[in-house]
Symmetry: C2
Subunit: 374 residues, 2 copies
C-alpha cells in the first residue's frame, strides 16, 4: 500500500468515519480506521459494531483529493493517532505507505511517523449491501426529525426500545415517535414512495447521522428489519436497529381537551428557565397557574425560596388550571418546536398536556405533569 493524498480532503474524510469509532471497543481493530486503497479509490471505514460509517474518495467525485495510488493494499490505523498526525502535519499533501508488515509510514513536510497498524484481515467484515426498502428525504426534514424527537428518548437501558426513535411507515406516511414514558415527541412526514416498516433506530446513531447533514440535499434512507442506512454523498452511515418491539405509544395520546393556553414559546421557555434555579433533589419542578385573567409560572423550595412570574401576552381559555411539571422537559419540548408561538392543550390537572406549534403541524410534544406538594 502506498498513496499520496491531499491532507485537507483526507482529514475531512477521516473525521466523518471517526464518528463511528469507539476508543474503548473490546475488539482492538475497531479502535482503528480501516483504509482500503484501490486503483482509483480510497475507502475509509469506521465502526463500533452498532454504527458503521464508510466513505469513498476518488478524484472523480472530489476535485481537491489529488489522489495518486502507487500501490494498492489496506491497513487499519488507530483512529486517534491517524487523526492527530494528519491534523497536525503541515503539508498540503501526505504520503501513506506500509513499510514492513503492518508498520505504516505517514509523512509530509519534514516530519515522518511510523505507526504500528493492525492488519486489515483482523478487521470485522461489515456488510454494506443496500437494504431493499428505500425512500428519499430532504436533509432538512431528516434534521427536523432527529432534532425534534431524539431528546425525548430514554437513557435507561431497562427498556431498550425507549432508547431509540420508532420509525413507522404506512403508505406515504412516516411517523417518528420518541418517549421515555414521561414525555413523548411525535413527528409525521410524507414519504415520496409508499413503504411499510416498523423499526426502532438508536438515538445515538441518529445523532451521529445529524453531524453529517450540513448541506441541503436529498438523502436516501434504506431499511430492513436488521439495519438502517443513510446515504450522504459518497458516505454510507449504517446502524443496527433496536431488537425489541416498540410500544404502541401513539394510542396513549389524548385527543380531547377542554383548556387551552396560547403563548410565545420563547417567552415561556425563558420564564421557566428563570424559575429553574430552584431545584428539589436536583430537579426543577415548575408550577403553571392559569386562568383567563392571568397566567403565572412559579417555583418554590423550602430551602432556597420561591420565584413567581406573570406571563405577558398569554391567552388562556377554559376553567382555571394549576399543574406542575419538570422544567427541563417543557424547555426541551419548546426548543424542539423552534421556540415558535405554541398552543398548549390541557384536559386535567394530573393528565398529559400537548404542546403544538402554531406554525408547524407536523410535530407534537406531550408532557406528563408531576405531583407537587408546594
Amino acid at each position: 500500500m502506498n498513496f499520496i493524498v491531499s491532507k485537507k480532503a483526507f482529514y475531512n474524510a477521516l473525521t466523518i468515519v471517526a464518528g463511528a469509532v469507539s476508543h474503548n471497543s473490546p475488539l482492538p481493530s475497531l479502535t482503528g480506521i480501516k483504509i482500503d486503497v484501490k486503483d482509483n479509490e480510497l475507502i475509509l471505514t469506521g465502526s463500533d459494531s452498532n454504527i458503521s460509517i464508510q466513505t469513498r474518495l476518488s478524484n472523480d467525485t472530489n476535485e481537491q483529493l489529488n489522489l495518486i495510488v502507487n500501490e494498492v493494499g489496506s491497513i487499519v490505523i488507530e483512529s486517534r493517532y491517524i487523526m492527530e498526525i494528519v491534523r497536525k502535519i503541515e503539508s498540503s499533501e501526505i504520503t501513506i505507505e506500509i513499510v514492513d508488515g503492518s508498520l505504516t509510514k505517514i509523512s509530509g513536510d519534514h516530519a515522518e511517523f511510523n505507526i504500528n497498524g493492525i492488519r486489515s484481515t483482523d478487521y470485522p467484515l461489515i456488510d454494506f449491501t443496500v437494504c431493499e426498502q428505500s425512500f428519499t428525504l430532504p436533509s432538512k426534514t431528516l434534521v427536523d426529525i432527529i432534532n425534534q424527537t431524539t431528546f425525548a428518548t430514554s437513557d435507561k437501558e431497562t427498556r431498550p426500545a425507549l432508547t431509540g426513535v420508532n420509525f413507522k411507515a404506512s403508505g406515504n406516511e412516516l411517523k417518528c415517535i420518541a418517549t421515555d414514558s414521561y414525555r413523548l415527541a411525535l413527528k409525521t412526514v410524507d414519504l415520496d414512495t409508499p413503504n411499510t416498516f416498523n423499526i426502532t433506530i438508536p438515538a445515538k446513531s441518529l445523532n451521529e447521522v445529524l453531524k453529517s447533514l450540513n448541506e441541503e440535499k436529498d438523502i436516501q434512507v434504506s431499511v430492513s428489519n436488521k439495519k438502517a442506512q443513510f446515504f450522504i454523498d459518497t458516505t454510507i452511515i449504517q446502524t443496527r436497529l433496536i431488537n425489541e418491539d416498540y410500544p404502541d405509544a401513539e394510542r396513549l395520546i389524548l385527543k380531547d381537551f377542554n383548556r387551552f393556553l396560547e403563548v410565545d414559546g420563547y417567552e415561556l421557555l425563558k420564564a421557566i428557565d428563570r424559575a429553574s434555579f430552584i431545584k428539589n433533589e436536583g430537579i426543577s419542578i415548575i408550577k403553571l397557574t392559569a386562568s383567563p385573567e392571568e397566567v403565572i409560572v412559579s417555583s418554590r423550595s423550602q430551602e432556597v425560596g420561591s420565584s413567581e412570574e406573570l406571563l405577558d401576552g398569554a391567552i388562556y381559555q377554559g376553567e382555571p388550571i394549576e399543574l406542575s411539571f419538570s422544567g427541563r422537559y417543557v424547555i426541551e419540548a419548546l426548543r424542539a418546536l423552534g421556540n415558535a408561538r405554541v398552543k398548549i392543550n390541557f384536559s386535567g390537572e394530573m393528565k398529559q398536556f400537548i404542546i403544538n406549534s402554531l406554525v408547524d403541524e407536523s410535530i407534537i410534544q406531550l408532557v406528563l405533569p408531576v405531583r407537587s406538594y408546594n
Copy 2:
C-alpha cells in the same frame, strides 16, 4: 435594605467577586456574596478565606450604575442563585430588598424571586486594611509575570511553597520564581519604589487576579508578611500567602553553557506537539538530537511506533548532543516565551537546559531532562 440598580453594572460586579467564592466552602456564609448597602454606595464581597475580593460601586465612579438606595442594610445571598437570577432577569434595572428577616426579594420586569439569604452578621470579618509595603506595576507587566510563571508551579500539596510563585524584592528589583522541582521559571522586573520582601503567593490566587486584568492601567500591589493585595479600579483582590519558606531556587540555575541551539520557538513547539501523540505511561517524552549539521525532534514507544522530524532553520553550536525531556514542559515554557525566537543553552546531556527569548531578557525558563531508554 432596599435598593434599585442597573442590572448590567450589578451583574458585572457580581461576576468579579464571585471569582473568590467556593461552592464547597465548609462555612455556609462563604458560599454567598455579601451585599452591603450604604447611603451612596454598594459594597460586594466574596471570599473562600484564602482569596477575598471586594468591589465598591457608586454613581460617582460608575455612570451606568443608576443606584437608588431606599434603605441601607446588608445581606448574604448564595452566589450561584443571585448570579443566575440577575443574569436571566430581562429588565434594565432590578430592585433588591429584604422583606422579612433574611428573606430577600429580587425583582425586575414581571418576575419576582424571594430567596432565603444569610444574615451578614454570620459572614466572617475580613480585614481589607491596606498593607504597609506598596509598589505599582503596569497591568501588562503583572499579566506577564502571572502568565510566564504560574504554569511552572507544583500542583502537589507535599511541598506547599512550590504551589505558589515566590516574589522577592530587593531595592528596585523584583524576582518572581516558580518551580515544581523539574522545571523553573524566573521573571525579573523593575519596581518604581524600592522594597524588601520575600513572599509566596498561591498560583490559584494569581490566576484569579489575572481575570481582572483586562485593561491597560497601573495596578497598586501591597504586601505584608501575611497577605498580598491588588487594587484594580474600585476592586481589592486580597490573598493569603503560603506560610512555608521558599527554597533558594535561583541558586540552582547554572550560568555556564557550552552548547547552544537557536530556533523559532513556535516551529519547535509545533514539532514537539506533533511528536507528543506518542506517550509512555501517559507522558510524552521527546528526544532532541542536535549537531551543527542537523537538529531532529523524535519520539518512540514500543507499542505505538515512532516519529521523527527535521527542524528547519535551526542553528546549533557546539559538540553534538542527544537528550530527552517532557514534551509538555518544553511546550509550556515556549508558550510562556510568547512563541518568540529562542536560544536554548545546554551544558550536558543530563543537565538542566535554559530557554531564553531572543526578544525579552526579563524571563528565563529552565527544564531538567529525563532519562530515556529508547
